[in-house]
């Protein structure tokens, strides 16, 4: 199992529809400051559903929608799809590819937006996402995703928080 593609639409600085293919092995992402590298990590965490929106550097989910940049007009929704290759059936669905899609659409309801989850095109929930991904040992709070500036966190966190990493594994 591996991450095969990330499809982005109006997510942060990715103000158009685009697809980033990922291969197995060792991939490096590089580019100038502010070009959007960490936004790709935020896009992946957005789908995996972190506990708090602080982790994707946004005070409200609607801050994730492309704001139009200097002269353009802001979008009304953002959508991210993660496509996993699943030939080894690590994710308990009988499919060679599993696509997790999350969409946030601006709305004039009280909270200001609607949030939708899809698995291979059919409606789903955050719980189903996390349940399916847990089989693949993929969790938004796992030690396998290290955000920018976080590398020394493992050493700087307190002993109890550090032990909790091991609790999760056992």
């Amino acid at each position: 199992m591996h991450l095969e593609k990330v499809r982005m639409e109006n997510f942060k600085s990715f103000g158009k529809e685009m697809e980033i293919p990922f291969k197995e092995g060792y991939t490096n992402i590089t580019g100038p400051n502010g070009s959007g590298k960490s936004n790709i990590v935020d896009a992946i965490l957005f789908v995996l559903g972190p506990k708090s929106s602080k982790e994707i550097r946004a005070s409200r989910l609607t801050d994730l929608i492309y704001n139009g940049g200097k002269n353009g007009s802001p979008a009304d929704h953002c959508k991210i799809s993660l496509v996993f290759e699943n030939e080894d059936r690590t994710i308990p669905l009988d499919e060679d590819k599993v696509t997790f899609t999350r969409k946030v659409q601006l709305s004039d309801n009280q909270q200001g937006y609607n949030s939708y989850f899809f698995v291979n095109g059919r409606r789903s929930t955050l719980y189903e996402f996390q349940d399916l991904l847990a089989h693949g040992r993929i969790s938004p709070d796992g030690y396998n995703i290290v955000q920018q500036g976080d590398i020394s966190r493992i050493v700087e966190m307190g002993p109890t928080e550090r032990r909790r990493i091991l609790d999760e594994i056992s």
């Binding site: 991450l3 490096n28 990590v41 353009g72």
Partner: protein, 165 residues
């Protein structure tokens, strides 16, 4: 439950010492539970000794030394309980040229059994990867990507010009 945690801790501890020794060229490191009788009452302590130095609590180490200890901890968990993919955002910021190269070398080896996606500005790191994705942004604030696959051992000229000079 207690048995489970002790087993995990021992398993990871074996790898941790080995990985840190390799990354630091000869240092020693190990994990200690604050309370062996009742591990859930205490936390997990990391002790590390860079080559030539006395054993330290990790707080007294330098920025780069701390990053190496953190990396060793992550890799030792991976050996014990692998995850299908890893996402590492500028973990080589604190590292000098030599340590950055050592870490990239180890990731390149681990990438034979799991998918590693790393964000880096350092040439020493980009040289070791199998594929490179270049991200740019235009004057309207819209990001775009350029992809180079199967670069093998990159020649100096192949690395996109916006990387570290």
């Amino acid at each position: 439950k207690k048995g489970g945690l002790l087993k995990v801790c021992d398993g990871i501890n074996d790898n941790f010492g080995e990985v840190y020794e390799e990354l630091s060229n000869g240092g020693e490191a190990h994990l200690e539970l604050e309370n062996n009788e009742d591990p859930f009452e205490g936390g997990l302590i990391i002790k590390a000794r860079p080559p030539g130095k006395k054993v330290h609590l990790v707080d007294a180490l330098s920025g780069g030394e701390k990053s190496l200890v953190s990396m060793a901890f992550i890799f030792s968990i991976q050996m014990y309980d692998p995850s299908p993919f890893y996402l590492l955002d500028e973990i080589d910021q604190n590292l000098d040229g030599l340590n950055a190269e050592n870490v990239a070398e180890m990731i390149s080896r681990n990438a034979e059994t799991a998918q590693f996606i790393q964000i880096s500005l350092r040439k020493v790191t980009l040289k070791k990867s199998d594929h490179i994705i270049g991200v740019t942004i235009n004057d309207k604030g819209i990001s775009d990507v350029i992809m180079k696959v199967n670069i093998g051992q990159t020649k100096e000229t192949d690395i996109p010009e916006f990387s570290e000079v």
